[in-house]
Symmetry: none
Subunit: 291 residues, 2 copies
DNA sequence: GTTCAAGTGAAATAAATATTCCAATAATAC
DNA sequence: GTATTATTGGAATATTTATTTCACTTGAAC
Protein backbone atom coordinates (compact mmCIF):
# COMPACT_ATOMS: atom_id res chain seq x y z
CA UNK A 1 0.00 0.00 0.00
CA UNK A 2 2.12 2.85 -1.17
CA UNK A 3 0.47 5.96 0.10
CA UNK A 4 0.38 8.96 -2.20
CA UNK A 5 0.81 12.00 0.02
CA UNK A 6 -2.78 13.03 0.27
CA UNK A 7 -4.42 16.24 1.25
CA UNK A 8 -6.99 15.58 3.89
CA UNK A 9 -10.49 16.78 2.98
CA UNK A 10 -11.80 19.66 5.04
CA UNK A 11 -15.51 19.36 4.38
CA UNK A 12 -18.03 16.68 3.65
CA UNK A 13 -18.24 17.86 0.10
CA UNK A 14 -14.53 17.53 -0.41
CA UNK A 15 -14.64 14.11 1.15
CA UNK A 16 -17.44 13.06 -1.15
CA UNK A 17 -15.44 14.24 -4.12
CA UNK A 18 -12.29 12.52 -2.95
CA UNK A 19 -14.07 9.25 -2.38
CA UNK A 20 -15.41 9.37 -5.90
CA UNK A 21 -12.11 10.06 -7.56
CA UNK A 22 -10.16 7.57 -5.47
CA UNK A 23 -12.86 4.93 -5.63
CA UNK A 24 -11.37 3.11 -8.57
CA UNK A 25 -7.97 2.83 -6.92
CA UNK A 26 -9.32 1.22 -3.76
CA UNK A 27 -9.35 -2.46 -2.95
CA UNK A 28 -12.51 -4.50 -3.02
CA UNK A 29 -13.31 -4.14 0.66
CA UNK A 30 -12.46 -0.50 0.73
CA UNK A 31 -14.74 0.10 -2.22
CA UNK A 32 -17.52 -1.73 -0.46
CA UNK A 33 -16.96 0.43 2.58
CA UNK A 34 -16.80 3.66 0.61
CA UNK A 35 -20.01 2.85 -1.15
CA UNK A 36 -21.78 2.15 2.09
CA UNK A 37 -20.60 5.40 3.57
CA UNK A 38 -21.71 7.46 0.62
CA UNK A 39 -25.05 5.71 0.64
CA UNK A 40 -25.66 5.96 4.39
CA UNK A 41 -24.03 9.16 5.50
CA UNK A 42 -26.19 9.70 8.51
CA UNK A 43 -25.62 6.22 9.77
CA UNK A 44 -21.92 6.88 9.56
CA UNK A 45 -22.32 10.18 11.33
CA UNK A 46 -23.90 8.75 14.45
CA UNK A 47 -23.01 5.10 14.89
CA UNK A 48 -19.85 3.55 16.30
CA UNK A 49 -17.15 1.91 14.26
CA UNK A 50 -18.36 -1.51 15.25
CA UNK A 51 -21.96 -0.84 14.28
CA UNK A 52 -21.11 0.75 10.98
CA UNK A 53 -18.74 -2.08 10.17
CA UNK A 54 -21.45 -4.60 10.89
CA UNK A 55 -23.97 -2.85 8.67
CA UNK A 56 -21.50 -2.42 5.86
CA UNK A 57 -20.55 -6.07 6.33
CA UNK A 58 -16.85 -5.42 6.82
CA UNK A 59 -14.59 -5.48 9.86
CA UNK A 60 -13.86 -2.42 11.98
CA UNK A 61 -10.28 -2.39 10.77
CA UNK A 62 -11.49 -1.75 7.27
CA UNK A 63 -13.18 1.45 8.28
CA UNK A 64 -10.00 2.72 9.79
CA UNK A 65 -7.99 1.67 6.80
CA UNK A 66 -10.33 3.54 4.52
CA UNK A 67 -10.08 6.64 6.65
CA UNK A 68 -6.30 6.39 6.59
CA UNK A 69 -6.12 5.88 2.87
CA UNK A 70 -8.21 9.01 2.40
CA UNK A 71 -5.73 11.03 4.35
CA UNK A 72 -7.23 10.97 7.83
CA UNK A 73 -5.36 10.15 10.98
CA UNK A 74 -8.16 7.87 12.09
CA UNK A 75 -11.77 7.04 11.56
CA UNK A 76 -12.99 9.50 14.13
CA UNK A 77 -11.49 12.34 12.20
CA UNK A 78 -13.34 11.26 9.11
CA UNK A 79 -16.55 10.81 11.02
CA UNK A 80 -16.37 14.43 12.06
CA UNK A 81 -17.06 15.46 8.49
CA UNK A 82 -20.11 13.26 8.37
CA UNK A 83 -21.29 14.92 11.54
CA UNK A 84 -20.66 18.39 10.29
CA UNK A 85 -22.81 17.55 7.32
CA UNK A 86 -25.72 16.69 9.58
CA UNK A 87 -25.39 19.95 11.39
CA UNK A 88 -24.88 22.03 8.28
CA UNK A 89 -27.85 20.64 6.49
CA UNK A 90 -30.19 20.45 9.39
CA UNK A 91 -31.23 24.00 10.11
CA UNK A 92 -34.81 24.76 9.81
CA UNK A 93 -35.57 25.02 6.15
CA UNK A 94 -37.53 28.24 6.09
CA UNK A 95 -34.91 29.96 8.20
CA UNK A 96 -32.27 28.79 5.85
CA UNK A 97 -33.99 30.04 2.75
CA UNK A 98 -34.46 33.38 4.41
CA UNK A 99 -30.78 33.45 5.23
CA UNK A 100 -29.84 32.66 1.67
CA UNK A 101 -32.17 35.32 0.43
CA UNK A 102 -30.92 38.03 2.72
CA UNK A 103 -27.31 37.22 1.95
CA UNK A 104 -27.97 37.88 -1.71
CA UNK A 105 -24.84 39.91 -2.06
CA UNK A 106 -22.66 36.90 -1.47
CA UNK A 107 -24.56 33.95 -2.83
CA UNK A 108 -24.77 33.69 -6.59
CA UNK A 109 -28.16 34.28 -8.12
CA UNK A 110 -28.23 30.76 -9.40
CA UNK A 111 -28.11 29.26 -5.94
CA UNK A 112 -30.75 31.58 -4.67
CA UNK A 113 -32.94 30.70 -7.59
CA UNK A 114 -32.49 27.04 -6.88
CA UNK A 115 -33.65 27.59 -3.32
CA UNK A 116 -36.66 29.46 -4.54
CA UNK A 117 -37.59 26.77 -7.00
CA UNK A 118 -37.16 24.00 -4.54
CA UNK A 119 -39.21 25.88 -1.99
CA UNK A 120 -41.99 26.77 -4.43
CA UNK A 121 -42.25 23.21 -5.67
CA UNK A 122 -42.13 21.90 -2.15
CA UNK A 123 -45.06 24.09 -1.22
CA UNK A 124 -47.00 22.85 -4.22
CA UNK A 125 -46.44 19.25 -3.23
CA UNK A 126 -47.68 19.94 0.25
CA UNK A 127 -51.02 21.05 -1.13
CA UNK A 128 -51.37 18.59 -3.95
CA UNK A 129 -52.71 15.47 -2.29
CA UNK A 130 -55.39 17.28 -0.35
CA UNK A 131 -56.59 19.01 -3.50
CA UNK A 132 -57.05 15.86 -5.49
CA UNK A 133 -60.39 14.22 -5.04
CA UNK A 134 -60.01 10.55 -4.03
CA UNK A 135 -63.13 9.61 -5.97
CA UNK A 136 -61.73 11.13 -9.15
CA UNK A 137 -58.57 9.14 -8.66
CA UNK A 138 -60.49 5.92 -8.30
CA UNK A 139 -62.68 6.73 -11.26
CA UNK A 140 -59.68 7.47 -13.43
CA UNK A 141 -58.10 4.20 -12.39
CA UNK A 142 -61.27 2.29 -13.22
CA UNK A 143 -61.17 3.76 -16.69
CA UNK A 144 -57.49 3.03 -17.15
CA UNK A 145 -57.89 -0.51 -15.93
CA UNK A 146 -60.66 -1.29 -18.37
CA UNK A 147 -58.90 0.34 -21.32
CA UNK A 148 -57.03 -1.90 -23.69
CA UNK A 149 -54.49 0.84 -24.29
CA UNK A 150 -53.95 4.36 -23.05
CA UNK A 151 -53.19 7.18 -25.46
CA UNK A 152 -51.31 10.02 -23.84
CA UNK A 153 -51.39 13.49 -25.29
CA UNK A 154 -49.36 16.50 -24.21
CA UNK A 155 -47.97 19.30 -26.31
CA UNK A 156 -45.12 21.70 -25.55
CA UNK A 157 -44.64 21.95 -21.81
CA UNK A 158 -47.06 19.15 -21.16
CA UNK A 159 -45.14 16.88 -23.47
CA UNK A 160 -42.71 16.19 -20.64
CA UNK A 161 -45.52 14.93 -18.44
CA UNK A 162 -47.02 12.92 -21.26
CA UNK A 163 -43.78 11.21 -22.09
CA UNK A 164 -43.16 10.40 -18.44
CA UNK A 165 -46.62 8.89 -18.17
CA UNK A 166 -46.02 6.79 -21.24
CA UNK A 167 -42.76 5.58 -19.77
CA UNK A 168 -44.32 4.78 -16.42
CA UNK A 169 -47.28 2.96 -17.95
CA UNK A 170 -45.01 0.81 -20.03
CA UNK A 171 -43.21 -0.12 -16.83
CA UNK A 172 -46.37 -1.39 -15.22
CA UNK A 173 -47.18 -3.38 -18.34
CA UNK A 174 -49.99 -1.20 -19.54
CA UNK A 175 -50.00 -0.58 -23.28
CA UNK A 176 -49.42 3.13 -23.73
CA UNK A 177 -49.12 5.27 -26.83
CA UNK A 178 -47.64 8.71 -26.81
CA UNK A 179 -49.42 11.03 -29.20
CA UNK A 180 -46.36 12.94 -30.21
CA UNK A 181 -47.22 14.39 -33.58
CA UNK A 182 -43.91 13.05 -34.79
CA UNK A 183 -43.58 13.37 -38.53
CA UNK A 184 -46.68 15.55 -38.61
CA UNK A 185 -48.78 12.49 -37.91
CA UNK A 186 -51.11 13.74 -35.22
CA UNK A 187 -54.05 12.80 -37.36
CA UNK A 188 -52.84 9.30 -37.96
CA UNK A 189 -52.03 8.77 -34.30
CA UNK A 190 -55.47 9.95 -33.30
CA UNK A 191 -57.12 7.64 -35.79
CA UNK A 192 -55.42 4.74 -34.06
CA UNK A 193 -57.58 5.29 -30.98
CA UNK A 194 -60.16 2.54 -30.60
CA UNK A 195 -63.24 2.76 -28.44
CA UNK A 196 -61.80 0.21 -26.06
CA UNK A 197 -58.94 2.55 -25.26
CA UNK A 198 -58.75 5.66 -23.10
CA UNK A 199 -57.20 9.08 -23.63
CA UNK A 200 -55.19 11.02 -21.09
CA UNK A 201 -54.63 14.64 -22.09
CA UNK A 202 -52.36 16.99 -20.22
CA UNK A 203 -52.71 20.64 -21.12
CA UNK A 204 -51.90 23.94 -19.49
CA UNK A 205 -52.58 27.52 -20.46
CA UNK A 206 -52.17 28.55 -23.24
CA UNK A 207 -53.97 25.38 -24.19
CA UNK A 208 -52.49 23.85 -27.31
CA UNK A 209 -54.81 23.47 -30.21
CA UNK A 210 -53.67 19.90 -30.76
CA UNK A 211 -54.73 18.80 -27.30
CA UNK A 212 -58.24 20.00 -27.88
CA UNK A 213 -58.35 18.21 -31.20
CA UNK A 214 -57.26 15.02 -29.55
CA UNK A 215 -60.08 15.29 -27.06
CA UNK A 216 -62.60 16.01 -29.79
CA UNK A 217 -61.42 13.00 -31.73
CA UNK A 218 -61.67 10.78 -28.69
CA UNK A 219 -65.15 12.05 -27.92
CA UNK A 220 -66.32 11.19 -31.42
CA UNK A 221 -64.97 7.71 -31.15
CA UNK A 222 -66.48 7.21 -27.73
CA UNK A 223 -63.28 6.93 -25.70
CA UNK A 224 -63.32 7.95 -22.06
CA UNK A 225 -61.17 11.04 -21.49
CA UNK A 226 -59.07 12.01 -18.52
CA UNK A 227 -57.62 15.47 -18.33
CA UNK A 228 -54.88 17.01 -16.25
CA UNK A 229 -55.01 20.77 -16.50
CA UNK A 230 -54.53 23.96 -14.55
CA UNK A 231 -58.03 25.30 -14.17
CA UNK A 232 -61.59 24.11 -13.89
CA UNK A 233 -62.36 26.60 -16.65
CA UNK A 234 -59.85 25.04 -19.02
CA UNK A 235 -61.39 24.33 -22.45
CA UNK A 236 -60.29 20.74 -21.97
CA UNK A 237 -62.36 20.26 -18.85
CA UNK A 238 -65.65 20.12 -20.71
CA UNK A 239 -64.59 17.04 -22.64
CA UNK A 240 -63.39 15.07 -19.71
CA UNK A 241 -64.88 12.18 -17.83
CA UNK A 242 -62.43 12.94 -15.06
CA UNK A 243 -60.59 16.23 -14.53
CA UNK A 244 -57.59 16.76 -12.32
CA UNK A 245 -56.77 20.37 -11.64
CA UNK A 246 -53.24 20.90 -10.43
CA UNK A 247 -51.57 24.02 -9.23
CA UNK A 248 -48.03 24.34 -10.43
CA UNK A 249 -45.33 26.50 -8.92
CA UNK A 250 -44.38 29.68 -10.69
CA UNK A 251 -41.02 31.40 -10.33
CA UNK A 252 -39.84 34.16 -12.63
CA UNK A 253 -42.93 33.50 -14.73
CA UNK A 254 -41.78 29.94 -15.40
CA UNK A 255 -44.13 27.24 -14.34
CA UNK A 256 -43.00 23.93 -12.92
CA UNK A 257 -44.27 20.45 -13.57
CA UNK A 258 -43.69 18.88 -10.20
CA UNK A 259 -47.30 18.45 -9.20
CA UNK A 260 -48.38 17.01 -12.53
CA UNK A 261 -45.53 14.56 -12.54
CA UNK A 262 -46.24 13.51 -9.02
CA UNK A 263 -49.86 12.90 -9.91
CA UNK A 264 -49.10 10.93 -13.04
CA UNK A 265 -46.58 8.87 -11.12
CA UNK A 266 -49.16 8.03 -8.51
CA UNK A 267 -51.69 7.16 -11.21
CA UNK A 268 -49.35 4.87 -13.07
CA UNK A 269 -48.21 2.98 -10.02
CA UNK A 270 -51.68 2.67 -8.53
CA UNK A 271 -52.73 1.19 -11.82
CA UNK A 272 -49.83 -1.22 -11.69
CA UNK A 273 -50.82 -2.35 -8.23
CA UNK A 274 -54.43 -2.86 -9.26
CA UNK A 275 -53.37 -4.97 -12.18
CA UNK A 276 -51.14 -7.08 -9.97
CA UNK A 277 -54.02 -7.73 -7.63
CA UNK A 278 -56.36 -8.60 -10.47
CA UNK A 279 -53.84 -11.05 -11.87
CA UNK A 280 -53.24 -12.73 -8.55
CA UNK A 281 -56.97 -13.15 -8.14
CA UNK A 282 -57.30 -14.64 -11.60
CA UNK A 283 -54.58 -17.14 -10.86
CA UNK A 284 -56.18 -18.15 -7.58
CA UNK A 285 -59.56 -18.70 -9.19
CA UNK A 286 -57.91 -20.67 -11.91
CA UNK A 287 -56.25 -22.94 -9.39
CA UNK A 288 -59.51 -23.49 -7.54
CA UNK A 289 -61.19 -24.54 -10.74
CA UNK A 290 -58.43 -26.94 -11.78
CA UNK A 291 -56.84 -28.16 -8.56
CA UNK B 1 -33.44 14.08 46.22
CA UNK B 2 -36.72 12.23 46.44
CA UNK B 3 -37.33 10.78 43.02
CA UNK B 4 -40.90 10.86 41.75
CA UNK B 5 -41.37 7.65 39.78
CA UNK B 6 -40.81 9.02 36.33
CA UNK B 7 -41.65 7.65 32.96
CA UNK B 8 -38.68 7.94 30.66
CA UNK B 9 -39.38 10.04 27.56
CA UNK B 10 -39.38 8.13 24.31
CA UNK B 11 -38.89 10.96 21.84
CA UNK B 12 -37.20 14.31 21.70
CA UNK B 13 -40.55 16.04 21.85
CA UNK B 14 -41.51 14.22 25.00
CA UNK B 15 -38.16 15.06 26.50
CA UNK B 16 -38.59 18.70 25.63
CA UNK B 17 -41.99 18.73 27.27
CA UNK B 18 -40.71 16.97 30.35
CA UNK B 19 -37.82 19.36 30.76
CA UNK B 20 -40.19 22.29 30.61
CA UNK B 21 -42.60 20.97 33.19
CA UNK B 22 -39.93 19.74 35.58
CA UNK B 23 -37.76 22.78 35.14
CA UNK B 24 -39.11 24.59 38.20
CA UNK B 25 -38.45 21.64 40.47
CA UNK B 26 -34.80 21.30 39.50
CA UNK B 27 -31.86 22.63 41.42
CA UNK B 28 -29.91 25.67 40.27
CA UNK B 29 -27.22 23.74 38.42
CA UNK B 30 -29.66 21.34 36.88
CA UNK B 31 -31.73 24.23 35.62
CA UNK B 32 -28.68 25.80 34.10
CA UNK B 33 -27.89 22.50 32.39
CA UNK B 34 -31.42 21.95 31.16
CA UNK B 35 -31.54 25.41 29.72
CA UNK B 36 -28.31 24.89 27.87
CA UNK B 37 -29.50 21.63 26.42
CA UNK B 38 -32.77 23.04 25.19
CA UNK B 39 -30.93 25.95 23.66
CA UNK B 40 -28.20 23.89 21.99
CA UNK B 41 -29.77 20.60 21.04
CA UNK B 42 -27.42 19.81 18.21
CA UNK B 43 -24.38 20.49 20.33
CA UNK B 44 -25.75 18.03 22.85
CA UNK B 45 -26.43 15.51 20.11
CA UNK B 46 -22.88 15.32 18.88
CA UNK B 47 -20.43 16.41 21.56
CA UNK B 48 -19.06 14.43 24.50
CA UNK B 49 -20.13 14.84 28.09
CA UNK B 50 -16.95 16.73 28.89
CA UNK B 51 -17.34 19.20 26.04
CA UNK B 52 -20.99 19.85 26.70
CA UNK B 53 -20.29 20.32 30.38
CA UNK B 54 -17.58 22.81 29.61
CA UNK B 55 -19.80 24.80 27.29
CA UNK B 56 -22.68 24.78 29.70
CA UNK B 57 -20.25 25.75 32.42
CA UNK B 58 -21.07 22.85 34.70
CA UNK B 59 -19.25 19.66 35.60
CA UNK B 60 -19.78 16.38 33.79
CA UNK B 61 -21.43 14.91 36.83
CA UNK B 62 -24.20 17.43 36.53
CA UNK B 63 -25.12 16.23 33.09
CA UNK B 64 -25.46 12.71 34.32
CA UNK B 65 -27.45 13.82 37.33
CA UNK B 66 -29.84 15.69 35.07
CA UNK B 67 -30.28 12.68 32.85
CA UNK B 68 -30.98 10.52 35.88
CA UNK B 69 -33.46 12.92 37.35
CA UNK B 70 -35.37 12.90 34.08
CA UNK B 71 -35.71 9.15 34.23
CA UNK B 72 -32.76 8.02 32.14
CA UNK B 73 -30.31 5.38 33.15
CA UNK B 74 -27.43 7.56 32.05
CA UNK B 75 -26.51 10.51 29.94
CA UNK B 76 -25.90 8.47 26.83
CA UNK B 77 -29.46 7.29 26.86
CA UNK B 78 -30.69 10.84 26.95
CA UNK B 79 -28.30 11.87 24.23
CA UNK B 80 -29.86 9.29 21.95
CA UNK B 81 -33.03 11.34 21.83
CA UNK B 82 -31.06 14.41 20.81
CA UNK B 83 -29.51 12.36 18.06
CA UNK B 84 -32.78 10.92 16.89
CA UNK B 85 -34.00 14.47 16.52
CA UNK B 86 -31.17 15.19 14.11
CA UNK B 87 -31.99 12.14 12.08
CA UNK B 88 -35.74 12.65 12.14
CA UNK B 89 -35.51 16.13 10.83
CA UNK B 90 -33.12 15.23 8.08
CA UNK B 91 -34.30 11.76 7.43
CA UNK B 92 -33.29 9.09 5.10
CA UNK B 93 -36.32 9.28 2.88
CA UNK B 94 -36.71 5.66 2.06
CA UNK B 95 -36.81 4.93 5.77
CA UNK B 96 -39.40 7.55 6.32
CA UNK B 97 -41.58 6.31 3.54
CA UNK B 98 -41.30 2.85 4.93
CA UNK B 99 -42.64 4.22 8.17
CA UNK B 100 -45.63 5.71 6.41
CA UNK B 101 -46.20 2.47 4.62
CA UNK B 102 -46.18 0.26 7.65
CA UNK B 103 -48.35 2.70 9.55
CA UNK B 104 -51.09 2.62 6.97
CA UNK B 105 -51.58 -1.07 6.52
CA UNK B 106 -50.74 -3.26 3.61
CA UNK B 107 -52.95 -2.16 0.76
CA UNK B 108 -52.48 1.51 0.14
CA UNK B 109 -55.21 2.79 -2.11
CA UNK B 110 -54.51 5.37 -4.75
CA UNK B 111 -55.00 8.36 -2.51
CA UNK B 112 -52.67 7.05 0.08
CA UNK B 113 -50.09 6.43 -2.59
CA UNK B 114 -50.46 9.97 -3.81
CA UNK B 115 -49.77 11.22 -0.31
CA UNK B 116 -46.69 9.08 -0.11
CA UNK B 117 -45.42 10.34 -3.41
CA UNK B 118 -46.07 13.93 -2.61
CA UNK B 119 -44.39 13.55 0.73
CA UNK B 120 -41.36 11.74 -0.62
CA UNK B 121 -40.85 14.29 -3.35
CA UNK B 122 -41.37 17.13 -0.94
CA UNK B 123 -38.69 15.73 1.30
CA UNK B 124 -36.33 15.42 -1.62
CA UNK B 125 -36.87 19.04 -2.55
CA UNK B 126 -36.09 20.09 0.97
CA UNK B 127 -32.66 18.63 0.82
CA UNK B 128 -31.88 19.39 -2.80
CA UNK B 129 -30.62 22.96 -2.66
CA UNK B 130 -28.28 22.41 0.24
CA UNK B 131 -26.71 19.46 -1.49
CA UNK B 132 -25.94 21.29 -4.67
CA UNK B 133 -22.63 23.05 -4.61
CA UNK B 134 -23.02 26.73 -5.53
CA UNK B 135 -19.66 26.73 -7.27
CA UNK B 136 -20.67 23.85 -9.49
CA UNK B 137 -23.81 25.69 -10.43
CA UNK B 138 -21.84 28.76 -11.43
CA UNK B 139 -19.31 26.71 -13.30
CA UNK B 140 -22.04 24.95 -15.25
CA UNK B 141 -23.63 28.25 -16.11
CA UNK B 142 -20.30 29.64 -17.32
CA UNK B 143 -20.00 26.69 -19.63
CA UNK B 144 -23.56 27.00 -20.88
CA UNK B 145 -23.19 30.70 -21.44
CA UNK B 146 -20.11 30.30 -23.56
CA UNK B 147 -21.52 27.44 -25.58
CA UNK B 148 -22.96 28.21 -28.99
CA UNK B 149 -25.48 25.45 -28.54
CA UNK B 150 -26.31 22.93 -25.85
CA UNK B 151 -26.83 19.28 -26.69
CA UNK B 152 -29.02 17.50 -24.21
CA UNK B 153 -28.86 13.74 -23.78
CA UNK B 154 -31.10 11.57 -21.68
CA UNK B 155 -32.26 8.04 -22.34
CA UNK B 156 -35.25 6.19 -20.92
CA UNK B 157 -36.27 7.72 -17.63
CA UNK B 158 -33.85 10.60 -18.06
CA UNK B 159 -35.39 11.41 -21.40
CA UNK B 160 -38.14 13.27 -19.60
CA UNK B 161 -35.62 15.54 -17.93
CA UNK B 162 -33.68 16.01 -21.13
CA UNK B 163 -36.73 17.00 -23.09
CA UNK B 164 -37.79 19.43 -20.40
CA UNK B 165 -34.36 21.00 -20.42
CA UNK B 166 -34.48 21.37 -24.18
CA UNK B 167 -37.86 23.02 -23.92
CA UNK B 168 -36.75 25.38 -21.18
CA UNK B 169 -33.54 26.34 -22.97
CA UNK B 170 -35.46 27.17 -26.10
CA UNK B 171 -37.63 29.46 -24.01
CA UNK B 172 -34.67 31.43 -22.79
CA UNK B 173 -33.40 31.73 -26.35
CA UNK B 174 -30.54 29.32 -25.97
CA UNK B 175 -30.05 27.02 -28.95
CA UNK B 176 -30.69 23.52 -27.62
CA UNK B 177 -30.62 20.17 -29.35
CA UNK B 178 -32.20 17.09 -27.87
CA UNK B 179 -30.19 13.99 -28.60
CA UNK B 180 -33.18 11.75 -28.96
CA UNK B 181 -31.93 8.87 -31.10
CA UNK B 182 -35.01 9.39 -33.21
CA UNK B 183 -34.85 7.33 -36.37
CA UNK B 184 -31.85 5.49 -35.00
CA UNK B 185 -29.75 8.58 -35.56
CA UNK B 186 -27.82 8.82 -32.32
CA UNK B 187 -24.60 8.76 -34.26
CA UNK B 188 -25.59 11.50 -36.59
CA UNK B 189 -26.85 13.65 -33.74
CA UNK B 190 -23.62 13.18 -31.87
CA UNK B 191 -21.60 14.11 -34.92
CA UNK B 192 -23.41 17.41 -35.01
CA UNK B 193 -21.68 18.44 -31.78
CA UNK B 194 -19.08 21.12 -32.42
CA UNK B 195 -16.32 22.05 -30.03
CA UNK B 196 -17.98 25.40 -29.38
CA UNK B 197 -21.00 23.62 -27.94
CA UNK B 198 -21.60 21.93 -24.63
CA UNK B 199 -23.16 18.62 -23.66
CA UNK B 200 -25.58 18.06 -20.81
CA UNK B 201 -26.12 14.39 -20.02
CA UNK B 202 -28.69 13.12 -17.58
CA UNK B 203 -28.33 9.51 -16.57
CA UNK B 204 -29.47 7.35 -13.70
CA UNK B 205 -28.76 3.80 -12.71
CA UNK B 206 -28.83 1.53 -14.69
CA UNK B 207 -26.82 3.93 -16.78
CA UNK B 208 -27.80 3.74 -20.43
CA UNK B 209 -25.07 2.77 -22.82
CA UNK B 210 -26.03 5.63 -25.14
CA UNK B 211 -25.43 8.26 -22.53
CA UNK B 212 -21.90 7.05 -21.97
CA UNK B 213 -21.30 7.05 -25.69
CA UNK B 214 -22.52 10.60 -25.94
CA UNK B 215 -20.04 11.63 -23.26
CA UNK B 216 -17.23 9.77 -24.96
CA UNK B 217 -18.05 11.48 -28.23
CA UNK B 218 -18.14 14.88 -26.63
CA UNK B 219 -14.84 14.21 -24.88
CA UNK B 220 -13.17 13.35 -28.16
CA UNK B 221 -14.45 16.50 -29.77
CA UNK B 222 -13.38 18.61 -26.85
CA UNK B 223 -16.81 19.73 -25.65
CA UNK B 224 -17.29 20.56 -21.99
CA UNK B 225 -19.59 18.05 -20.31
CA UNK B 226 -22.12 18.54 -17.56
CA UNK B 227 -23.69 15.55 -15.93
CA UNK B 228 -26.73 15.09 -13.78
CA UNK B 229 -26.69 11.68 -12.17
CA UNK B 230 -27.57 9.77 -9.03
CA UNK B 231 -24.22 8.87 -7.53
CA UNK B 232 -20.72 10.14 -7.32
CA UNK B 233 -19.69 6.72 -8.48
CA UNK B 234 -21.76 6.89 -11.64
CA UNK B 235 -19.71 5.95 -14.71
CA UNK B 236 -20.72 9.28 -16.20
CA UNK B 237 -19.12 11.27 -13.43
CA UNK B 238 -15.61 10.61 -14.65
CA UNK B 239 -16.30 12.36 -17.96
CA UNK B 240 -17.80 15.44 -16.52
CA UNK B 241 -16.46 18.93 -16.08
CA UNK B 242 -19.29 19.49 -13.64
CA UNK B 243 -21.29 16.79 -11.88
CA UNK B 244 -24.59 17.27 -10.11
CA UNK B 245 -25.60 14.41 -7.90
CA UNK B 246 -29.29 14.39 -7.09
CA UNK B 247 -31.16 12.14 -4.77
CA UNK B 248 -34.52 11.18 -6.13
CA UNK B 249 -37.46 9.90 -4.15
CA UNK B 250 -38.31 6.24 -4.36
CA UNK B 251 -41.74 4.77 -3.74
CA UNK B 252 -42.71 1.22 -4.57
CA UNK B 253 -39.34 0.92 -6.24
CA UNK B 254 -40.27 3.69 -8.66
CA UNK B 255 -37.96 6.65 -8.68
CA UNK B 256 -39.17 10.19 -9.18
CA UNK B 257 -37.68 12.98 -11.22
CA UNK B 258 -38.65 15.94 -9.13
CA UNK B 259 -35.19 16.91 -7.98
CA UNK B 260 -33.64 16.63 -11.42
CA UNK B 261 -36.38 18.69 -12.96
CA UNK B 262 -36.10 21.31 -10.30
CA UNK B 263 -32.38 21.53 -10.89
CA UNK B 264 -32.68 21.77 -14.66
CA UNK B 265 -35.34 24.40 -14.29
CA UNK B 266 -33.08 26.45 -12.07
CA UNK B 267 -30.22 26.01 -14.51
CA UNK B 268 -32.22 27.08 -17.52
CA UNK B 269 -33.68 30.13 -15.91
CA UNK B 270 -30.44 31.22 -14.32
CA UNK B 271 -28.92 30.99 -17.74
CA UNK B 272 -31.73 33.11 -19.14
CA UNK B 273 -31.15 35.76 -16.50
CA UNK B 274 -27.45 35.84 -17.19
CA UNK B 275 -28.05 36.27 -20.88
CA UNK B 276 -30.48 39.09 -20.25
CA UNK B 277 -27.90 40.85 -18.14
CA UNK B 278 -25.21 40.37 -20.73
CA UNK B 279 -27.47 41.78 -23.42
CA UNK B 280 -28.45 44.81 -21.37
CA UNK B 281 -24.82 45.52 -20.77
CA UNK B 282 -24.04 45.22 -24.45
CA UNK B 283 -26.81 47.65 -25.31
CA UNK B 284 -25.65 50.16 -22.73
CA UNK B 285 -22.11 50.05 -24.01
CA UNK B 286 -23.43 50.44 -27.52
CA UNK B 287 -25.39 53.53 -26.55
CA UNK B 288 -22.41 55.10 -24.86
CA UNK B 289 -20.41 54.65 -27.98
CA UNK B 290 -23.08 56.08 -30.31
CA UNK B 291 -25.10 58.47 -28.18
C1' DG C 1 -25.07 29.06 65.66
C1' DT C 2 -25.67 24.06 65.10
C1' DT C 3 -27.44 20.20 62.54
C1' DC C 4 -28.74 17.89 58.70
C1' DA C 5 -29.93 17.02 54.06
C1' DA C 6 -29.39 18.17 49.48
C1' DG C 7 -26.27 19.75 46.05
C1' DT C 8 -21.83 20.05 43.95
C1' DG C 9 -17.00 19.36 42.01
C1' DA C 10 -12.92 16.70 41.23
C1' DA C 11 -10.72 12.62 41.03
C1' DA C 12 -11.09 7.50 40.56
C1' DT C 13 -13.08 3.91 38.16
C1' DA C 14 -15.65 1.47 34.76
C1' DA C 15 -17.24 1.02 30.25
C1' DA C 16 -17.16 1.91 25.55
C1' DT C 17 -14.85 2.64 21.51
C1' DA C 18 -11.07 3.33 18.38
C1' DT C 19 -6.76 1.75 16.84
C1' DT C 20 -2.85 -1.29 16.17
C1' DC C 21 -0.71 -5.49 15.28
C1' DC C 22 -0.04 -9.94 13.52
C1' DA C 23 -1.23 -14.17 11.44
C1' DA C 24 -3.93 -15.91 7.62
C1' DT C 25 -5.57 -15.34 3.03
C1' DA C 26 -5.92 -13.86 -1.60
C1' DA C 27 -3.95 -11.78 -5.58
C1' DT C 28 -0.04 -10.94 -8.69
C1' DA C 29 4.36 -11.54 -10.85
C1' DC C 30 7.83 -14.53 -12.13
C1' DG D 1 3.63 -23.90 -9.56
C1' DT D 2 6.32 -20.71 -6.28
C1' DA D 3 7.60 -16.37 -4.34
C1' DT D 4 6.25 -11.96 -3.19
C1' DT D 5 3.20 -8.42 -2.07
C1' DA D 6 -1.13 -6.50 -0.91
C1' DT D 7 -5.35 -7.31 1.56
C1' DT D 8 -8.04 -8.92 5.16
C1' DG D 9 -10.09 -10.47 9.77
C1' DG D 10 -9.82 -10.77 14.49
C1' DA D 11 -7.74 -10.45 18.79
C1' DA D 12 -4.89 -7.38 21.79
C1' DT D 13 -4.15 -2.84 23.17
C1' DA D 14 -4.61 2.07 23.74
C1' DT D 15 -7.54 5.77 24.09
C1' DT D 16 -11.43 8.18 24.88
C1' DT D 17 -15.57 8.85 27.27
C1' DA D 18 -19.19 7.95 30.69
C1' DT D 19 -20.19 7.02 35.30
C1' DT D 20 -19.46 6.53 40.21
C1' DT D 21 -17.67 7.83 44.48
C1' DC D 22 -16.57 10.69 48.13
C1' DA D 23 -15.18 14.73 50.41
C1' DC D 24 -16.67 19.31 50.59
C1' DT D 25 -20.07 23.20 50.34
C1' DT D 26 -24.27 25.39 50.60
C1' DG D 27 -28.64 26.49 52.38
C1' DA D 28 -32.61 25.67 55.28
C1' DA D 29 -34.75 24.23 59.87
C1' DC D 30 -34.64 24.40 64.49
Amino acid sequence: MQQPPQKQPQSYRELEALMSTEYATLSKRLQQTARFMLDHPQEVALATVAKIAEQADVTPSTLIRLANSLGFKGFSEMQQLFRSRLVDELPNYTERIRAVRSATGETPDSTQLLWEFADANRAVLEQLPSRIDPESLEKALDIFEKAHAIHVMGARRSFVVASYMTYALAHVDKPALLVSGLGGMYREQLRAMSQHDALLTISFSPYAEESQRACEGAKQRGLPIIVITDSHLSPLASFADVVFVVNEAEVKSFRGLTASLCLTQALAISLGMRQDKAREKAIQQDQQRNP
